[in-house]
Symmetry: none
Subunit: 207 residues, 4 copies
DNA sequence: TATGAATGAGAGTTCATTCAT
DNA sequence: AATGAATGAACTCTCATTCAT
C-alpha cells in the first residue's frame, strides 16, 4: 500500500524526469498520480514544497545510502576501486537528478526553499554533503600514505563529483541515455586521471 | 548607439541573471529594455529565440574569445600557468552563464532549440567546444613531453571545466558572489591537483 | 438551476448573435456568463470547441426537432402546407444561425473542427441533414403521385432551404429583424413558385 | 504595369481565398503583395477599407460584367438556356466570394462599412443587384408569354441565386473544389426544377 | 482526506496602425 | 509613395491555488 503522498512524489519525479520541469504542472502531476487537482494541497504546502520533498526524500537519500556504504572501508581494497564505485554512483545520480537540479536553479524561489530545507534537515540528521564525505575519506587514506601527502582532498573530491555532474549534463544536452559500458570506461579513465595527474611521473627517467 | 535588438539581449541577460528564468517573462524583459511588449517580436521569432541568441551572441563569444587567445602558445611558459588562466576564465563564464544554462535544462523546448542553433552555428564558423580545444592543447604538450604520456587529455579537459562549472553552481546555490582571491586559490589548487594526481609521487622513497 | 456550462453556451450564443464573432472573445463571453476567464476552459477544450458546441447542442437540435416533427405525415394534408411549415422553420433557423455560420466559414480552423464534430455526431445518432430529409419526404409524395414524377426531390430540397438561407442572410445584411407577416408571405410565394414552376402551365390553352 | 494598389487588392483576395479571413492580416497581405507593412495605409484608409474594395472592385464587377451580358436578349434563345448561363456564373461567383462574404457577416463593422459603400456606389453608377436584374428579365419574358403569368419573378430570382449560393457554401464546407461537370449538371437540374415545378403537370392525364 | 469547479493573474504572442525617414 | 521599427491593446490559454461539498 502506497500512501497518496508517496504516489504524488513518485508521479512528480516521473513527470519532471520524462517531460521536464515546464511540463510538471500541479495538474499534470495530479493526473499522473491518479488523484484530483486539489489533493496535492492536502499533503504539501504548495508546488515548491513538493519539489523540495522530491529532492530531499527521493533523490538524495538514495544517493546518500549508496555513498555511505562505501568509503569507510578505509585502508581496505584499493583507493582507486573505491573512487570508481563512488563515481559510478555519482554519475547515475547526477543523470537522474539533472532536470530537478536545473529547475532549482531556474527558479530562485525554489532554490531558496531548498536551501532552507537542506539546512533544517542537516540539523536533524547529521549528514554531510557528498564532497566533504569523500574529502574525509581521502584525508584518512592520506594518513595511511595511500594518497599523496601533497594532495588536496577537498579539491579532489570536488573534481570527481564536478566532472561526473558535468558529464551527466552533457549526456542530457545531447539527449543520450546512460550507456553502462561507456560510463564505466569514463569512470575508470577519470579516476586514473585524478590519481596519476598530468605531470610526467618520473621526470628523471626520460633521458 | 545601441540597437533595440542589443538592448533586448542585454535586458534579458540582466533579468535572467538577477531574477531567474521564471521572472524573465517577455513583458519583464521589454520593460527592462524600455520598449513595448511587441517590439521583442520584431527582432526575435519568439522568447526561446531570444534566449538562444543570448547564449550564442553574448555569453559564448566572450568565453570563446578568451579561450582562443590562450592555449596555442604551446611549449611556451608553463602548462600549469596556461591551465590556471583557462580555469579562471571558465569559472567566470560558468558563474555568469549558470542561470541561463539551468534555464536551458529546465525547459526541454529551449534545450532543443539551443542544440539546433549550436549545430547550425558550428557548421558556419568552424568552432570547437571548449573541452575539445583544451584537449587538443594538452595533446600537443604531451607530444613535447611536458604532459605525461599516460595522461588522458580529453578526460583531463572534462575534469577541469566540469569542476569549474560545478563550483560556480555551488556558489550560486549559496548565493555567493565571486571572490577574486578565493577563486584564484581554488583555481591554483585545482590545477595543481590535476597536474600532480592523488598517488604518492615517488613511491620508492617511502622507506 | 443552470449549469456553468450552459451559462457559457448561452452567453456565447448571445454575444455572437448581437455583437458578431469578432467581439466574441473568450473574455467577453466569460463576462457575459458572469464567470471568471479561466472557467471556460473547465468546460470546453478551447474557444473553437465552445463554438462547435453551440452549433451542435443549441442551434441544430432545435432546428432538427422542429424538422423531424413534420414531414413524415406523408400523404396527409397538402404537400404545399408541409413545405410552408418547413420553410418557416428553416427561415427562423437560418436567421438565428447566420452569424455563427458566417463565423464558421471565416475561420478555416473552426470549419474543420465543426466538420469533424458533425461526422462524429452523425455516427452516434443516425441523423440525416435537413435537405436529404426533405428530399426523402418529397420522394415519398412522388410515389403517391402528389409530386410530379419529373421532379428532382434533392434539387427541390436544396432550393427550398437554400433560398431560405439566402433570404435570412439578406435580412442580416440590411440589419432587419424578422417580420412574421413578411416572412409568411415570402414562404408562401416561395413554396408556390417551387410547386408551380416558371413554365406556363397549360401552354395549349393560351390560344 | 500594375499599380501597388492593385497588387494589394490581388494579394488580399488571394490570401482570403486560400487561407481564410483569419489569416488575412495586414502583414500577411503586405508580404503577399511584396511591399512593406505600412504601404497598405497609403492606399486604403484601413483594413476594412481594403476588404470592401476587394468586394466592390474585384469580385462584384467581374460578376456584374458576366451577368449584364446575358439577360437582355429577351425573347431570344430559350429562357432555360439563359437561366442556366446565369446560374453557372452565379455558382462560380459564390464559390469564389464565399470566404469574403462570410468575413463580412462575421464582423459587423465590416458589414456596416460594406453596406455604406454599396449605397454610395449604387448612387454613382446606376447598378442594380443581381436578383432584381434577373427578376426584371423574367418579368419581360412573362410579358412575352414565355414565363407563366402566375410566376413570381422576384421570388424565382431569389431562389435561383439563393440555391447557387447555398450550394457553393456546401462545397466550401466539405472542402471540395468546383467540378465543372457536376456543376453543369446541378445547374441544369436546378433550372429545370424551377421551370417545371413540383406539381404534376397535367393532372387530368393521370386517368 | 479527497474532490474538482471556480478563480483571476499572468503568460506568450499577434495585430492594426502610426510615423520618422 | 514607400518603408519597417515601434507601439500597446487585446487575444487565447495555462496555472497554482482555494474551498464548499
Amino acid at each position: 500500500m502506497t500512501t497518496t503522498r508517496q504516489r504524488l512524489l513518485d508521479a512528480a519525479e516521473r513527470v519532471i524526469r520524462t517531460k521536464g520541469l515546464a511540463a510538471a504542472s500541479t495538474r499534470e502531476i495530479a493526473r499522473e498520480a491518479g488523484c484530483a487537482d486539489g489533493t496535492l494541497y492536502n499533503h504539501f504546502r504548495d508546488r515548491a514544497d513538493l519539489f523540495v520533498a522530491i529532492y530531499l526524500e527521493e533523490l538524495l537519500p538514495d544517493y546518500w545510502d549508496a555513498l555511505s556504504k562505501l568509503p569507510y572501508r578505509i585502508g581496505e581494497g584499493s583507493v582507486q576501486a573505491h573512487l570508481e564505485e563512488l563515481a559510478e554512483i555519482a554519475l547515475a545520480f547526477y543523470y537522474k537528478a539533472a532536470p530537478l537540479r536545473a529547475a532549482l536553479f531556474a527558479e530562485p524561489e525554489l532554490l531558496q526553499r531548498y536551501r532552507e530545507a537542506l539546512i533544517t534537515q542537516a540539523q536533524h540528521r547529521h549528514q554531510s554533503r557528498p564532497a566533504p564525505l569523500l574529502a574525509a575519506y581521502l584525508r584518512a587514506e592520506q594518513r595511511l600514505g595511500r594518497v599523496s601527502a601533497q594532495a588536496n582532498p577537498a579539491i579532489a573530491a570536488e573534481a570527481l563529483f564536478g566532472t561526473c555532474a558535468s558529464y551527466a549534463l552533457r549526456q542530457r544536452f545531447f539527449g543520450e541515455s546512460p550507456n553502462v559500458e561507456a560510463d564505466r570506461q569514463l569512470v575508470q579513465e577519470l579516476v586514473r586521471s585524478l590519481m596519476e595527474g598530468l605531470l610526467p611521473r618520473y621526470p628523471a627517467t626520460d633521458d
